[in-house]
């Protein structure tokens, strides 16, 4: 039996035949579908974590609260590093408890957003290989899920702050900007890390270490008073080049203790603030570039 290959005559592409299919893309022109997908995947994951068991949600709150309890007791009762006990209104380490809780919640946002996103493309391999949808939906839905949790946790922070004596102030309007900066940073990292993990599986433990370093390097548990007491000049510039440190300091300043200085002051002026903002935008742009470039071929590499 001989098999001859069918060779079709070359036919020009006619007019009005819809859209060319170029393989999987990171984004889509159908923004409504993109948003519906991202939101509903995040919502489903959130529901799965907490639905049907209110204890599940309490547990979500308890984790940062426990960390807060341990650190608070250690620093104020044992080590007296940030006791804040002798400070009054207008001093940078006033309301240490509220500062600490806020910083832990913002750090948890970063940790959860990026750590969940590292594995997200690989964990959703089945979707990536079998369904057509804009690939960016995957990391974004994980960042959005972390944002849902952040909102819940921030409610606790505000309640705690008010109980501690923090009074509402005009600078609270800065909150969306502060969160936006952190959100952009997390999204950029999520895109970058989720792509990198497809090709390098040791990215996850490496990133865990990086997060650990960031925990200590961004001033989560210490106030700026302790930082400025030990770091000066270039070292302080370096410390404030970390976008997370900027986010945390601005949060402490704008939301908790307005008497302390904001990120601009400690950075050394607006011009120095260009570094952490540039880093945030740069990481986002790099993450987008890398993810967008890998999206069409990532299904083949899984």
């Amino acid at each position: 039996m001989s098999i001859t290959t069918y060779t079709p005559a070359p036919v020009p592409v006619p007019e009005g035949i819809g859209k060319p299919i170029r393989g999987p893309q990171a984004l889509t022109s159908d923004w409504r579908r993109f948003w519906h997908l991202t939101f509903n995947i995040a919502k489903t994951n959130w529901k799965m974590r907490f639905f049907g068991s209110w204890l599940g949600y309490v547990w979500q709150l308890i984790r940062p609260l426990l960390l807060f309890g341990v650190l608070y007791v250690f620093f104020t009762k044992i080590a007296h590093i940030n006791s804040g006990a002798d400070t009054g209104p207008g001093q940078a380490d006033h309301f240490y408890g509220a500062q600490l809780l806020g910083a832990i919640v913002l750090f948890t946002y970063m940790q959860e957003g990026t750590m969940n996103a590292v594995r997200c493309v690989v964990d959703n391999e089945v979707l990536v290989r079998k369904i057509e949808f804009p690939r960016m939906v995957i990391p974004l839905s994980y960042v959005l899920l972390a944002t849902f949790n952040l909102i819940g946790n921030l409610v606790v922070v505000f309640v705690f702050a008010l109980i501690s004596g923090v009074r509402p102030m005009g600078t609270w309007v800065e909150l969306p900007v502060i969160l936006l900066m952190e959100g952009v940073l997390i999204t950029g990292l999520a895109m970058l890390l989720s792509t990198a993990f497809v090709y390098f599986r040791d990215i996850q433990p490496i990133w865990e270490v990086v997060m650990q370093i960031l925990f200590y390097a961004s001033g989560v548990m210490i106030t700026i008073v302790t930082v400025t007491a030990n770091l000066h000049g270039t070292l302080l510039h370096l410390y404030m080049a970390d976008p997370l440190a900027v986010v945390l300091q601005q949060f402490k300043h704008a939301i908790i203790e307005h008497g302390s200085y904001g990120a601009v002051y400690y950075s050394g002026g607006v011009k120095w603030l260009v570094i952490p903002i540039g880093l945030t935008v740069g990481i986002f742009a790099l993450g987008f570039f890398v993810f967008n470039r890998a999206a069409p071929n990532v299904a083949d590499s899984l």
């Binding site: 039996m1 819809g18 170029r22 997908l37 089945v126 979707l127 290989r129 369904i131 083949d300």
Partner: protein, 416 residues
């Protein structure tokens, strides 16, 4: 059978599409290795899954894709769906729904309701539309009683039914269906067929991958045959079905007779040297299409002089039951005299092969005319052949039949 709308621009246009997978031979999955050996290149092996495929599917056409496992059917479907990036050009029109693998995207820890909504959104519905259709989808799947049950507690059949129902309810203009209809029980299958017929009548375009040639012939306006990533044939589904069966069975390894004496019993005055099957043109076959002329031939080598030898052939099915027996006895009384060393070929021609699809092995019995059971040689070689047909209804033979229905009227009415 013409598609509902055969004019106008095509719904899918594929031009020179190829897909090559680069498979790393020594995949290095860690950054550490990459840092330690920055210059070491990963060796890649290229696997060409599709090569220069071009065709178009008209609006409202039901288009079938047939091919063996690994022929590139699913890859082609995924390229059209936009799941894989392919070389060449693909154009597509209208809202698409895919049934490439059912149940993908289902979250096992969620109840059917939530999954239906999420899957609907994935297929392009708005959340409102998806919520509005939930009851319809669950009813179609016949799972009303279980709609609040977590999907992990569903049987695999239930999951597939649910997934199929979602895919069919999204009002797509274009559906890509990959070999999924062998699901569910008979009544659900019928429901699926009804849904397909309805979609065909509504002028939806459907691209349909299947191994079931019966289904291909039943539903498709046109079909295409893929083999090793290349397009062999495009055209009438019956023709494609026949070619598919041909390449499926026609390339099976030919079982050689081991030549051992175990295959032979009898006096040994003559030996059946070879048995084979031919088509009308005289080409040897391993797969014989049902309904066509088939000739079974046996070459006999005489060791002593034999007068008027008689030959019979028993065609055994897989259960080793003789489905039919053909013999020279009663047909040719005088077959002639053969000297020692001479050879003869006995031919048994079956005008219309009515054997049911399946594998058969012929047994040739050579005897002395009038000698009753004195067997010269009884030979069962390793040779088998396959009868191919688009579908099997389960009988031993498929006799040609004309079916008609007439209204019973008074003539058959039983009076009380």
């Amino acid at each position: 059978m013409a598609p509902a709308s055969s004019s106008g621009p095509p719904a899918i246009l594929v031009r020179g599409v190829g897909k090559t997978f680069h498979i790393p031979e020594d995949q290095r999955y860690t950054l550490k290795e990459r840092m330690l050996h920055p210059r070491r290149k990963t060796r890649m092996r290229d696997f060409s899954a599709l090569c220069d495929v071009s065709f178009d599917v008209k609006q409202g056409e039901f288009f079938g894709i047939a091919g063996r496992n690994g022929s590139g059917k699913s890859t082609l479907l995924k390229c059209i769906a936009g799941i894989y990036r392919a070389d060449g050009e693909i154009w597509r029109r209208g809202r698409m729904s895919t049934m490439i693998e059912l149940g993908i995207g289902f979250n096992m820890d969620l109840p059917a309701r939530d999954n239906v909504i999420l899957n609907g959104i994935m297929m392009g519905l708005t959340p409102r539309e998806a919520r509005r259709r939930v009851d319809e989808v669950i009813e179609f799947a016949g799972l009303e009683e279980f709609k609040d049950l977590k999907v992990k507690n569903y049987s695999s059949g239930m999951i597939v039914r649910l997934a199929f129902s979602v895919a069919i309810q999204v009002d797509a203009d274009l559906m890509l269906v990959d070999e999924i209809l062998a699901v569910g029980d008979a009544s659900f299958q019928q429901k699926c067929f009804d849904a397909f017929n309805r979609m065909r009548d509504e002028g939806k375009t459907i691209l349909f991958v299947s191994h079931d040639m019966g289904m291909l012939k039943r539903f498709c306006h046109r079909a295409m045959l893929l083999e090793r990533g290349q397009m062999l044939l495009i055209g009438d589904p019956s023709e494609i079905g026949d070619r598919y069966l041909e390449i499926n069975f026609g390339r099976a390894p030919v079982p050689e007779s081991d030549g051992s004496d175990d295959a032979h019993t009898g006096s040994g005055d003559a030996r059946v040297a070879e048995v084979w099957v031919e088509d009308a043109a005289g080409d040897r076959l391993l797969a014989v299409p049902q309904g066509e002329r088939m000739r079974l031939r046996a070459r006999v080598l005489f060791n002593v002089r034999i007068e008027d030898p008689a030959a019979s052939v028993y065609i055994l099915n897989e259960e080793q039951k003789a489905v039919t027996v053909a013999s020279t006895v009663g047909q040719i009384e005088r077959t002639g005299t053969f000297e020692a060393g001479e050879e003869a070929v006995f031919n048994f021609s079956f005008e219309n092969n009515v054997l049911a699809p399946g594998r058969y092995s012929p047994v040739v019995n050579l005897s002395q005319r009038g000698a009753g059971l004195d067997v010269i040689d009884r030979y069962q070689s390793g040779f088998t052949f396959v009868v191919t047909a688009p579908h099997s209804l389960g009988g031993v033979v498929d006799l040609p039949v004309e079916v008609a229905v007439e209204r019973a009227g008074d003539r058959f009415r039983i009076s009380a």
